[in-house]
């Protein structure tokens, strides 16, 4: 029960914050803990809460299923033993990151997230996952170090760490270096093309619930920071040229990720490369963001949320399929629909979000981005987004077309207990990603009403 209640608490926390302030002050000096929230961070918390509850339920089903039919006796019990504490640490630090009020606290949560994510990704104990996890560890540390170096420069320049105060200071010498270092670190962690090389193996070789966590939540955390720094805090330092370069890298990610996804033979690798591509859209949003618009957060949040839900659903579905048929080679997946109809349906609906068809979250995001592209007379970004959606349709189709075929000689695999927990959580998230567009008005009201709702810090 406890593992279910804790993330539930995490989700509820965001609503408690919505009403009340909260502050912890450890030291009355520079290094304290200050928590605050506003619209974007509330929405990210909400996404984390919803996703984590579902992942937790799924993980419970996943591990029970594996323990009931072990490939090696005792292995899955050990995995389980490590999974829950690591997952709770990761979840706690994620919530911490979205609530953190100064850049040093952010560093701490970022480091915690990185380390627990690496440990989680190494859980599956296959040699390939060990190598991938090690590479992930190095990249994660490099990213954090670069970020820390950036903080050092920043502190040297302004003697400030608080986000709200940094927002107000004029640009000074040194700030540029700090900003660049922090950005590069975060981009590395968000796997922006061409710094994405570590992501597909790390995500694809992990256990299914872990892949879901990594793809849906962990990369979103660093992206959230990046976007916040570029548009909320250091927006005076941002030049059009830099935005254009980021957009180009995003374009590269969309094309490279999609084409690689199309070339994969394993379902999980395909999904992992699709994460690279989908993250690309988040970066294409950079040159299309106009901070004078009230809702400039909305496209990226819609995209991040939609992708978070959909990708979690996809990894969960692929995990359920893997547990039943013992492999995930795409070409041999025909007939799965006969015994896992709910899972297949969930995968398909999640795919609709990736393609950006209405009324999904991806659709709203793409609509707003293309709209902005026309308004700002940068229509070429619109073409990139459209082509990316077509490629997404192609790689979603590659799997779905196999899943939907029912050859006459299909062998029906007997379903085991715990299948309920494996099948329904992905469907729930997939449907959520599909109707996210219809829920957009609520997201708008959270973004607008709670702007700077809570801002209580314990420092200075």
């Amino acid at each position: 029960m406890a593992p279910i209640l804790i993330p539930l608490g995490g989700g509820l926390l965001s609503f408690i914050f919505y009403r009340k302030g909260f502050s912890i002050s450890l030291l009355a000096s520079i290094v304290g803990i200050s928590l605050r929230t506003d619209g974007p961070s509330l929405l990210m918390l909400l996404m984390t809460g919803v996703t984590s509850i579902t992942i937790t339920l799924y993980a419970a089903g996943y591990f029970s299923f594996r323990i009931a039919s072990p490939s090696k006796p005792g292995r899955h019990e050990r995995q389980l033993q490590f999974f829950w504490p690591l997952w709770m640490i990761l979840l706690g630090s994620l919530n911490g990151l979205f609530l953190a009020g100064d850049i040093f606290n952010i560093y701490v949560t970022l480091e915690l997230i990185g380390l627990s994510a690496v440990a989680l990704s190494a859980l599956s104990a296959k040699p390939s996952s060990q190598i991938a996890a090690f590479r992930y560890l190095l990249v994660s540390l490099l990213g954090s170090l670069s970020y820390l170096l950036g903080i050092a420069f920043l502190y040297k320049t302004y003697a400030l760490l608080d986000l709200d105060m940094l927002r107000l200071v004029p640009p000074m010498k040194g700030a540029h270096t700090a900003f660049a270092l922090m950005s590069v670190g975060l981009m590395l962690k968000t796997a922006l093309f061409p710094m994405h090389f570590w992501l597909p193996p790390a995500h694809a070789n992990a256990l299914a619930p872990v892949s879901a966590i990594l793809s849906a939540l962990v990369v979103k955390a660093s992206f959230y920071l990046l976007f916040r720094f570029w548009f909320d805090i250091f927006n005076d330092l941002v030049t059009p040229g830099a935005l254009f370069v980021i957009g180009l890298l995003g374009t590269g990610a969309v094309f490279w990720g999609s084409i690689q996804a199309l070339r994969q033979h394993r379902m999980k690798l395909l999904i992992a490369y699709s994460t690279v591509a989908q993250l690309g859209y988040l970066f294409i949003a950079f040159p299309l963001t106009q901070i004078q618009e009230k809702l400039y957060w909305l496209p990226v949040i819609c995209m991040a949320m939609g992708h978070g839900f959909a990708k979690t659903a996809m990894f969960m579905a692929s995990g359920a399929i893997f547990l039943h048929v013992k492999h995930d080679r795409i070409n041999e997946l025909t007939g799965v629909r006969a015994y896992l109809p709910v899972t297949v349906f969930a995968y398909t609906i999640a795919g609709v979000n990736l393609m950006g068809l209405p009324p999904s979250g991806g659709f709203i995001a793409k609509w707003m981005l293309i709209y902005a592209a026309f308004e700002m007379h940068k229509w070429w970004w619109g073409i990139v987004i459209m082509l990316g959606s077509l490629l997404a349709a192609a790689y979603v189709y590659r799997v779905v077309s196999k899943l939907y075929v029912m050859p006459p000689d299909t062998i029906i695999i007997e379903k085991k207990a715990h299948s309920m927990l494996l099948e329904w959580p992905p469907l729930f998230l997939a449907i959520l990603s599909l109707i996210l567009g219809i829920l957009a008005p609520y997201m708008v009201s959270i973004l607008l009403l709670s702007k700077k709702l809570v801002s209580i810090g314990g420092i200075m």
């Binding site: 109809p341 393609m355 209405p358 709203i364 609509w367 709209y371 349709a393 077309s401 939907y404």
Partner: protein, 499 residues
């Protein structure tokens, strides 16, 4: 009478909910599934008729759901949407009956009928869409819900047809989405409205508006199977007969044609189309498609392929009529062909399905003497074929008559020539079938014959084509009465030409 727009939502749900329930049904619960299917279809017809009567008496139906400032979902019923809605719900009832008979004892029926119902909900959504975004929403969903039906048999060929279909429709869909957003940056959010947007916009952005129209036209043209975007349609004939009926007569191709009508009449408006000089482009595309489709149909030996190419050609009559929208007669001919073509083509596909299912006949060359074995089916087929050729007193004659008058009124002689040539070609590819089946002797055994006790084939397969054949004759004969599609179309056209 239902007030407000809730009726529209209920109309959508009347096939959506049965569809969702059917998905969850066990494979062997076919009685419950059939009852659910048929009652959903009947309920839908009743609701649509209530809506039709309401519209006739000036009641307005509208539901709005605002997602963002500039994204709003609107369901709105006007006479034009009522036309499409009524057509698809009536044909859906018949197709459902047919499909239940056709798929008896085949596997995966829950899956099939689930998507079948979703497909019709989505088509109704297209009919009732009140602005381009809502139209787009349902238009894309139509692709998704028809795809599983096309690949239903799961064979290599079916999969290939399916991927063809997706490549065409998604590319078209993307272009459509792209241009809808572009249009909206210029015009702001606009609802479908007779007369379209203000002419001031045309003066402000003439080039962009022209390009945009071409893009939108390509977007809907893919589903309407205009050349060179028609490639998916003949390939998709691999699907089971009820699905072909659905693709050709009820949903997909019709959605494309309906989209063309909406864009010309309600987004751009006839006046703006004229001032941008875009109507001739539409006319040329339609005429080329009509002739090309007929010539290709002539070359096909596979019966369903021949019918598919015939659809390519026939649907473009609708676009041809719309391209002369400044003449009321031509517009009437085009719009009424939306209904007439649907009913005629569904009859032909039902009959082709009967031949394949009962006798194993797939090719025209195998059809000698078939009418002796299946007289009722071939009777229905002949009525449908005569309708396509445009022989009075069938429904097809009415459409061609009005199109012809329209072309004379607008003095577009080439249109008249296209009409004559294509009718001639229609006769060339339909008459041999009729002659072969009625007047020639059977010289070889049937490839795969099944015996039935009372009728020539299963009664569920026989009733739908007979009903639609009767409708073809009736709406042709009583075209001038108050309740014919023709009078309804006149009622629609009055609205547009007043602008």
């Amino acid at each position: 009478m239902f007030a407000g727009g809730w009726l529209l939502v209920i109309i959508l749900l009347s096939s959506l909910i049965p569809g969702l329930i059917i998905f969850s049904l066990e494979e062997d619960r076919h009685v419950f599934r059939s009852v659910l299917n048929m009652s959903g279809a009947l309920l839908k017809i009743i609701l649509v008729l209530i809506m039709d009567v309401g519209i006739l008496f000036g009641q307005s139906y509208e539901v709005r759901l605002r997602l963002l400032v500039d994204i709003e979902l609107v369901l709105h019923a006007d006479p034009l949407s009522a036309l499409f809605c009524t057509l698809s719900s009536v044909l859906w009832l018949l197709t459902t009956l047919y499909a239940i008979g056709y798929l008896e004892n085949s596997p995966n029926r829950s899956h099939f009928f689930g998507f079948f119902s979703l497909c019709v909900s989505v088509t109704t959504g297209i009919a009732l869409a009140g602005n381009l975004i809502t139209f787009l929403l349902f238009y894309e969903m139509l692709t998704l819900t028809t795809y599983p039906l096309i690949i239903h048999r799961g064979t290599e060929q079916a999969l290939k047809a399916g991927s063809h279909y997706l490549i065409y429709t998604f590319s078209g869909g993307s272009i459509f989405l792209f241009s809808v957003i572009w249009l909206q940056t210029l015009t702001g959010p606009i609802d479908f409205m007779a007369g379209g947007f203000s002419p001031a916009l045309i003066q402000a952005y003439p080039t962009q508006m022209t390009i945009l129209f071409l893009f939108l036209f390509i977007g809907v043209g893919v589903k309407a199977a205009l050349i060179p975007l028609h490639g998916w349609l003949p390939a998709a004939m691999i699907a089971p007969a009820p699905v072909s009926a659905l693709l050709h007569a009820v949903a997909v191709v019709k959605a494309g044609a309906f989209g063309i009508i909406r864009i010309v009449l309600d987004v751009y408006g006839i006046k703006n189309m004229q001032s941008l000089n875009l109507l001739p482009i539409l006319g040329f595309a339609a005429a080329a498609t009509i002739l090309y489709g007929s010539v290709k149909a002539l070359q096909q030996d596979d019966l369903k392929r021949r019918l598919a190419y015939s659809t390519v050609s026939q649907v473009s009559y609708i676009a041809l009529g719309v391209s002369m929208a400044d003449q009321s007669a031509a517009l009437i001919g085009g719009l009424v062909h939306l209904v007439h073509q649907g009913i005629m083509k569904i009859t032909l596909f039902f009959c082709a399905g009967n031949l394949a299912e009962t006798l194993g006949i797939h090719k025209v060359s195998q059809m000698k003497g078939v009418a002796k074995r299946m007289p009722l089916t071939m009777l229905a087929f002949s009525v449908g074929a005569f309708g396509m050729i445009g022989v009075p007193p069938t429904a097809g004659f009415i459409s061609k008559w009005y199109l012809g008058i329209g072309s004379l009124e607008s003095q577009a002689w080439w249109v008249l020539a296209v009409l004559v040539i294509s009718s001639f070609l229609n006769a060339l590819y339909f008459l041999p079938i009729i002659i072969k089946s009625w007047f020639q002797e059977r010289d070889q055994p049937y490839p795969d014959e099944k015996q039935f006790d009372t009728f020539e084939t299963h009664w569920m397969l026989l009733i739908p084509p007979l009903v639609t054949a009767c409708i073809i004759l009736i709406i042709g004969l009583v075209a001038n009465s108050e309740f014919s599609p023709l009078s309804w179309v006149r009622f629609i056209v009055e609205d547009y030409l007043l602008q």
